[in-house]
């Protein structure tokens, strides 16, 4: 349980530092160029890496459900529909795995 408090307090400090850092550093932060592009690309690349890790660690039901959820996300952009399709697909497919 101490692990959870390390994560909570560490994340609290790190997140507040990032928020305050933007205000204090202000103009000294690059708005164009490589560093700015890398920083603004980071959320997307991290999320994609996370999804890839979760799907690769699964087996074929997770691979197919991941593909279906991606299709739902692209076509509908709806959180509820994407989650519903992903959960139902993985539940049904695991019956056959």
């Amino acid at each position: 349980m101490t692990d959870i408090w390390v994560i909570i307090l560490g994340l609290a400090v790190g997140t507040f530092a990032a928020r305050l850092g933007g205000i204090l550093l202000g103009q000294r932060l690059p708005v164009t160029g490589g560093w700015a592009r890398a920083l603004s690309a980071l959320p997307g690349t991290l999320i994609v890496a996370l999804v890839a890790g979760q799907v690769f660690q699964g087996e074929w039901p997770e691979w197919i459900a991941g593909g279906l959820a991606a299709m739902a996300a692209i076509l509908t952009r709806s959180l509820v529909l994407t989650m519903a399709l992903g959960i139902i697909a993985v539940y049904v497919l695991r019956q056959y795995a």
């Binding site: 994560i7 933007g22 980071l42 959960i87």
Partner: protein
Amino acid sequence: MTADPTTGPVAEFRSGLREIMPLAAGVVIYGLAFGVLASQALMGGLETGAMGSLVFAGAAQIVAVERAVAGAGALAALVAGIALNLRLVLVTASIRAFFTDRPWWQVALGAHFSTDENWAMTVAARKAGRDVGYWHLIGGGAGLFAAWLCSTVAGVMFASAIPEPRALGIDFAFTAAFILIARTLWQGRQDLLPWGTSIAVVALALWSGALDPSWALILGGVAGAVIAGIAGDD
């Protein structure tokens, strides 16, 4: 200024609070789902409430707790969560003018209440020509804060009613949610190479067995961002 009921801090706060409501409703759904995840990490109402109010950053909380549930160490969970929040530097830097000549507690409050949602709301209102700023942002932040805190704590309390997440396929809920988040973060063809790099690095790291999944994810995310920095152009 404050004598006019249509301007001033209170009116600005109220309009921010009112205009964030549709987005706060979406946050509630996320928050409930986060609560279910938190219960898998054996977190109770106290831990979930403390995390929601002290961290107040949905995606990073989800990633960090998901890593903890997956059996990663505290350090890997922490690094993944903080890496995802580095973008907040850009968020607050873009509105730093709101904070000039304010007392320290207002700077601290505004920093803590800066999220993607109310930042976008206030910036959009200003682009539409409205004279809003700090208190509009705070009004939106207050609405999001209340929605996030209540829904995550409710989620963790309610979650004990769900027997076994994996048997119902609910463990896949966040993979699906992250797929949708990725969709909303997609900015166009310039993302293709960085995202492809991330996926390839994660695949190599996992299949070679060189790294455990949490560090594979951090390495993949950073590698993609580096490629975006090197290969892209403004």
